[in-house]
Amino acid sequence: MKRFLLSFLLGWAIVAHSAMAQDGGPLRIEITEGVIEPMPFAVPDFVPDRPNAGDVAGQIARVIAADLSGTGLFREIPAQAHIGRVSDFSAPVRFADWKAINAQALITGAVSTSGNRVTVRFRVWDVFSGAELGNGLQFAGDRDGWRRMAHKVADAVYSRITGEGGYFDSRVVFVSESGPKNDRKKRLAIMDYDGANVQYLTDSSAIVLAPRFSPTGDRVLYTSFETGFPRIYVLDVGSVRRRILETREGTMSFAPRFAPDGQTVVFSIEQGGNTDIYSMDIASGGTTRLTSAPSIETGPSLSPDGRQMVFESDRSGTQQLYVMPSGGGSATRISFGQGRYGTPVWSPRGDLIAFTKQNKGRFHIGVMRTDGSEERLLTASFLDEGPTWAPNGRVIMFTRETKGAQGQATLYSVDITGRNLRPVRTPGGASDPSWSPLQN
């Protein structure tokens, strides 16, 4: 009887509890499926403070729109579709006009000029909630630097909407190529990330390879055949002065890359038919051997914290990727898919490694976790190689070369999801890109 009463009371209590829980609280639903599509945004021309600033105000707005649209995460609503007009930077925004064209983000700005100085002010608005994203911000600089100011505005907008850093105010060093494949002229060049402002750092008298930016973006390492042997040079980007990194006579040194501290260089030396990885202190010139296997070890790249190094090796019989402590030691193989893996580069976020993969006669650019898991191929073509990471670790730039004697190398960029594959505009052929950090 006692048990019967207990069961009855328990049942009544549960029914009462569930009924009250259902009645008293809000309706609860869980959303687990959304959509992935570019966010529509509008950038009306920035408001100039005087008529002669109108040109630069319009150009800045166009560069901002191109930067954001180029990410593949945003889609610009063209000016022809705008209903609203922004004629006063300080006037309240008429959100209904922008909602009507389905703009989810709105960027308004103003440009004022004083002599050679240009000041850009801007605000970012969440149209549907009618709220400003962050606070207004302004950048000032010389008139010649208007593109950099536009890139900085775009970086700030990108960061406020996505929550991660931008990459627009950055530069790329690459090998500029001209002429047919059997007589190709190569020289180092540097440009904005979007292909603007190209400048040449070397002439084409000697073959140059594999330029790599320093973590601060002020120096570039590269390999040159100027002496007949491949040797590594350090070039100061500001002064265009260079010096050779002294290594042993009669050896070939190549595949250099800066360590995150900017004071150490890791690279490969070929000696007596064997290639191993070394590190060198730039100031003292002291070298340390990091691998000593009879196989070919090359392409070192350090993790952002400087503790680990990924490199390629054929010690297993085929070219694969390995990770080991940055000071040398036990190496762990991380690539196990079909084909050959090379040119590994550690992401600036530290979470992924980009690589080139060759399989069944095609080349791919791919990414994998640092333990080799979750491999994902992003591209496929006759020849893709040499990935480099954008400063925010979201985009990869690489070289794509077409078939045939007249085939030309071109730079491409792709999002790490595999979306938004697009060529990078360069004058003539281009290969071996290296992305700089964000400029100060």
């Binding site: 328990l10 959303i31 909630s129």
Partner: protein, 364 residues
């Protein structure tokens, strides 16, 4: 009470007791057929379909290395051992069973009066029904929009709109009362991101592994005698928890009327999902789940000032802010014309808490 009545009641009682206890009302159970089923694992299915898989990586290092001196780091000079954690090898090509040789036609046996030989005992054939997952979907075409359901490219003249409508042209002479409207169709969408490397992927199975052997039948659990003390404790604990929960809730503002049906909730969920764009979120925000509260007006439109983040999990404050902003945009955009909710149940959906969990969107 009369003696006859007592005897009658006793007799009826005995009769009913005999009927219940004697199993008069019990019937034999309906025939029930049991068949063993083996489930193909994801690994087996991947092998069967020949799709490339990423290797499983253990946390432990693959092979021990000798300790290294501090002066010059030494690395093993031998080629490394075969990878321990390599991806599972493809199933070996099945060796065909030797076919029975064709024998010459036997001569008709002479009629010999011999007893028929006893047939060799044939082992009972193991019947294994394999539950095969649905065949993989054909390769998708790359699309700028990734949505839960794939959408074919809309007609070129159609205006992008979640609702598909055919064009109605105004006709001067027609008696039709239909209003003129512009053709609209949903935007093209795929369910997954298709990279350039995946566009030509062949998903047809290239080999079929042997069916797995029948799994061992699990031993039946031994019946446990109920522990009266433990049962009473559990009952008392559940009772107190239920009562405490019921008392903790305020007794006021209890909406009346029937609750929303599952279909009505699903329609609301789908409506919000179609506007929840996570394409521009950072990877940190894509790892953050936010619970957003909103109050609706009677026509189903969200009241902007009531939208707030109740809680978040899985990310930093900054990533929660980004995730909340995306959720808020979804609620406002798709609720701009009012969510399709039954007006008679307004009390039930006046206040809503939506949990935006992007876990499944990370693997698109």
């Amino acid at each position: 009470m009369q003696t006859g009545t007592k005897i009658s009641a006793l007799a009826h009682g005995l009769l009913l007791g005999w009927a219940f206890l004697g199993g008069v009302f019990e019937t034999d159970p309906l025939p029930f057929e049991v068949q063993d089923v083996s489930v193909i694992s994801a690994e087996d299915f991947a092998l069967m379909t020949g799709r490339s898989r990423t290797p499983e990586i253990d946390a432990a290092p693959s092979e021990p290395e000798p300790p290294l001196s501090n002066a010059t780091p030494e690395v093993t000079a031998e080629p490394d051992s075969p990878p321990v954690r390599s991806r599972p090898e493809a199933a070996p090509e099945p060796v065909p069973e030797p076919l029975p040789e064709t024998l010459p036609e036997p001569a008709p046996p002479a009629p010999v009066a011999q007893p028929d030989p006893q047939p060799a005992p044939v082992p009972p054939e193991t019947e294994t029904a394999a539950v095969v997952p649905a065949p993989p979907a054909p390769p998708q075409r790359p699309s700028e929009r990734i949505a839960p359901e794939p959408v074919a490219p809309p007609p070129p003249e159609a205006r992008p709109d979640p609702v598909e409508r055919e064009e109605v042209a105004p006709e001067q002479q027609a008696d039709s009362t239909r209003e003129a409207q512009e053709a609209s169709a949903p935007e093209e969408a795929a369910t997954e991101i298709v990279t350039e490397a995946e566009e030509r992927a062949v998903l047809a199975p290239t080999r079929s592994p042997r069916p797995a052997p029948r799994p061992a039948r699990p031993a039946a659990p031994a019946p446990r005698a109920p522990d009266p003390a433990r049962t009473e404790d559990a009952v008392a604990a559940a009772l107190s928890e239920a009562l405490a929960g019921a008392q903790a809730r305020p007794a006021t503002a209890a909406p009346s009327g029937p609750p929303l049906s599952a279909g009505e909730k699903e329609a609301l969920r789908v409506a919000v999902s179609s506007c929840w764009n996570v394409g521009s979120l950072s990877s940190a925000a894509l790892a953050t789940t936010v619970v957003v509260a909103v109050s609706l007006t009677q026509d189903g439109k969200p009241q902007m000032e009531t939208i707030r983040m109740v809680s978040s999990s899985g990310g930093s404050e900054a990533s929660a802010k980004q995730a909340f902003e995306a959720a808020r945009r979804a609620i406002i955009r798709c609720g701009a014309r009012g969510f399709a909710l039954p007006a008679e149940k307004f009390d039930r959906w006046r206040d809503i808490e939506m949990t935006f969990n992007p876990e499944r969107m990370r693997i698109k």
